[in-house]
Structure formats: structure tokens, C-alpha cells
């Protein structure tokens, strides 16, 4: 399934709702483009809602890391919300759970930016 991404504002944070597969090619490219657009728009508090992302490969992981460092370098913060089991297990396996802040409910995630 192709990746899709839309974003909305909530409590001063840009929540990006993503669905599909973040993989080599269009999926990774769309995530990169979305983050670039948000940074150009000076939106640096970003919460990626991955509830509907059922698959990520190494290219997708690389894109998530790139988004994380890109936002951080602009003085912002990128966090993750609602990981599916496969994505959760993959981040655990690759030790990226020690890098990303991960939340399972949106209210707590939004509160963490204050």
C-alpha cells in the first residue's frame, strides 16, 4: 500500500498522520518531503502518528532517523505515536527505542512538548 501523509495542528504541535508502508522509493520520499515542508513552514514540534503504518524497511528506518535529526538540528522535537507491533519490534531490535520518544496516546504525547 502506498504511503499517505496528512497533517493537522493540535496544542501547538503538528501531528502527521501517516498510513501505509515506509519503504525504499515513494514511501521514504513522501516522508522526507513532508518533513521538509513542515520545517520550511517553521513547524518544528512534530508528532508522527504511525498508527496505520504496518511496514517499515531499513530505508524507512533511515528516513525516520533523518527526520529526527533534521528536526532536532532546527531546535525542534520529533516524537512518535501509536506504533504498530511490527514497527515497535523493529525499533526495539535496532535500538532506536533509546533514541525516539514514543507514546501510545496522543494527549500524553502533546503534553510532553510543553
Amino acid at each position: 500500500m502506498a504511503l499517505r501523509a496528512t497533517y493537522r495542528e493540535a496544542a501547538g504541535v503538528t501531528v502527521v498522520d501517516i498510513g501505509g508502508r515506509i519503504t525504499l522509493g515513494e514511501g521514504s520520499a513522501l516522508l522526507r518531503k513532508t518533513i521538509r515542508e513542515l520545517l520550511e513552514d517553521q513547524r518544528t514540534l512534530i508528532l508522527l502518528n504511525l498508527a496505520d503504518v504496518d511496514y517499515i524497511d531499513s530505508s524507512g528506518i533511515g528516513e525516520l532517523v533523518s527526520a529526527y535529526t533534521g528536526v532536532k538540528n532546527r531546535g525542534g522535537s520529533l516524537k512518535l505515536l501509536h506504533l504498530t507491533k511490527k514497527v515497535h519490534d523493529l525499533l526495539q531490535l535496532t535500538k532506536l527505542f533509546t533514541v525516539f520518544e514514543v507514546y501510545s496516546d496522543e494527549t500524553s504525547a502533546l503534553r510532553s512538548y510543553r
Binding site: T23, L24, G25, S66, T94
Partner: protein, 161 residues
């Protein structure tokens, strides 16, 4: 290779679409061989990563080069080989993506994932140059009666001549 073994091979173009094609093909074979959903995911991901490795690092995304994918299904295991037409590489030279200094690297996790998801994994010099990834997964103990209810639907590879 014994009479009970089956063999399938395909030559792929060095392009992004080959990654999905290889994954889908191997998933069909894995399902037909009786692997459950979790193992199919691991096999599919490993094939993706093997072909991404050949596409990006081995063939350096050069369209005149090919990626050679071969599957062998023996009574014991499914063996996957991915051969590129690049310069080859030493497994020992691949950085550990779990090392503190590499955690924020945006690449270099493919080999790690294949090693984690498959039962056996090695990289050897290809017969005609390049690197060949050879990895395998043991067939489910229950033989060919899959745990995901999707086995045996016309996706079995051809018997080797």
C-alpha cells in the same frame, strides 16, 4: 540438490521496483512452503534488504547491471541467494548499527536485519564477481501445513531440471 528440492531463479533490473517484485515472489513461495505469517514477514523483509543491498551498494544503482535472485526449497529449509554485479564486500567491514556512534546513521541496517530475521546468513564472493548473499530459513516443524492458512496455492517453484 536432491529430487525433493525445488529451484527458482530470476534476473532483476537494477531499479527500485525490483525490490517489491522480489519480496512478493519470495513471499508467495514462503507461504506455499507453509511458513506462518511471522516467518513470512521476516523472509520478505530479508529479501527486500538483500535486493536493496544489491541495488544500492552492490550495483550502485547502475541500470546496466543486474541482480540475480535464486530460491531453493529443500525438505529442510528455504535458501535465498542474492547476487549483484558490484565490487563485492567483506562482512567484517560492515559497521555495527547498534553501536552508540551508529544509532543515528541513516543507513547500514540491512545486513543486521537479514542476520536477525534468518536462521543462516553469509556473504560470499560471487562466481562472476560481485557479492552473493546466501540466507536460509528452516521450514516449519509441521512440514508443509502452514500456520497462516495460505499454503499451497499455485505459487510453488518449478522443480529443478
Amino acid at each position: 540438490m536432491s529430487e525433493d528440492s525445488k529451484h527458482l531463479e530470476i534476473t532483476l533490473e537494477t531499479q527500485v521496483e525490483s525490490v517489491n517484485l522480489a519480496e512478493e515472489m519470495c513471499l508467495r513461495v514462503a507461504e506455499a512452503a507453509g511458513f506462518g505469517e511471522d516467518d513470512c514477514y521476516r523472509i520478505g523483509m530479508s529479501v527486500r534488504e538483500g535486493v536493496i543491498n544489491a541495488f544500492h551498494y552492490g550495483n550502485e544503482e547502475r541500470p546496466e547491471k543486474k541482480i540475480h535472485l535464486a530460491l531453493d526449497l529443500t525438505p529442510e529449509k528455504m535458501i535465498i541467494r542474492v547476487l549483484d554485479e558490484g565490487k563485492g564486500f567483506e562482512l567484517s567491514s560492515v559497521p555495527n548499527p547498534l553501536a552508540e556512534e551508529n544509532l543515528l546513521s541513516t543507513s547500514g541496517r540491512g545486513i543486521f536485519l537479514m542476520r536477525a530475521f534468518m536462521d543462516e546468513f553469509e556473504v560470499v564472493p560471487g562466481r562472476t564477481g560481485g557479492a552473493e548473499i546466501i540466507m536460509s530459513k528452516k521450514l516449519p516443524l509441521s512440514g508443509n501445513s502452514g500456520t497462516n492458512g495460505k499454503s499451497g496455492q499455485g505459487a510453488a517453484p518449478k522443480k529443478k531440471a
